[in-house]
Assembly symmetry: C2
């Protein structure tokens, strides 16, 4: 089972790639508490907090691939059980003057009870991809803890 | 292949159900040009236009199931080839004082070239579910043609 999304960003691929392939870029649209080494073979830790500062969890990604202006691919090394071993991929292309991001969070084996956790993550990824677009187009995204809340699960 | 989403709405299930099970409700968050009979056995036509009024396509759904305050299920009878025969489902439950919408657009057999069309629809559904939440919580959604544009594909 895969989560897939597609979004178009009115900016050069190099700008989108920078937001996906650097710690500073990632901290600008996913979660401010992003640390580590975003180079291939490196590990990046993404931690999430409430607006009042309590930690509510996070993920550690192993960077499998970075192809400048084209692709970033991670494997989940630490996080919720359902995420372990899954892969996250961003592929960039050009269409109609936009940089198209094809997003995949792939190889889910367990969607959680009733499929609710995977469904939550799917919607949440969409809001973060809108935040990525906002960051690249305007210079200011909505990373956690200022992210769009979508439910009782944040 | 399924598209799945989950969103929480701070309103009674009856209010969310009304937005999913009536023509007026659907026109308030998905597309203003919604016509037909939303009762089980009925057919509902959803047409999309540009802001300048040009028609850009649409879908016709057969209503398979409506269980008040719990579930709405449609089958796609007309629309893009990739949508034909797929099913769209909204399941409602209560958690932490919110009405949780579990959304599924199921039984895709063809995701389009490179999987791009299904990925586009996944992201677009997320923005429409945020519009559904906005409609129910505030009385005003963002149905097409005033929907959030996500790419060169609208």
């Amino acid at each position: 089972m895969d989560i897939v999304h597609r979004i178009g960003i009115k900016a050069p691929a190099a700008d989108v790639y920078k937001a996906l392939a650097t710690i500073e870029g990632l901290a600008g649209w996913w979660t401010r508490d992003t640390t580590g080494n975003a180079q291939p073979g490196g590990h990046v830790a993404f931690r999430f907090h409430t607006v009042t500062g309590d930690e509510i969890g996070g993920f550690t990604m192993g960077v499998l691939e970075q192809t400048p202006d084209h692709k970033v691919r991670w494997q989940v090394e630490d996080g919720p059980a359902e995420w372990l071993g899954t892969e996250v991929e961003f592929q960039l292309s050009q269409q109609d003057g936009q940089t198209i991001v094809m997003f995949g969070h792939r190889q889910w084996r367990d969607a959680g009870p009733g499929g609710e956790f995977m469904a939550h993550c799917s919607t949440k990824w969409a809001t973060f991809l809108l935040s990525l677009r906002e960051l690249v187009e305007t210079g200011r995204g909505q990373p956690a803890p200022d992210d769009v809340k979508i439910s009782n699960w944040h």
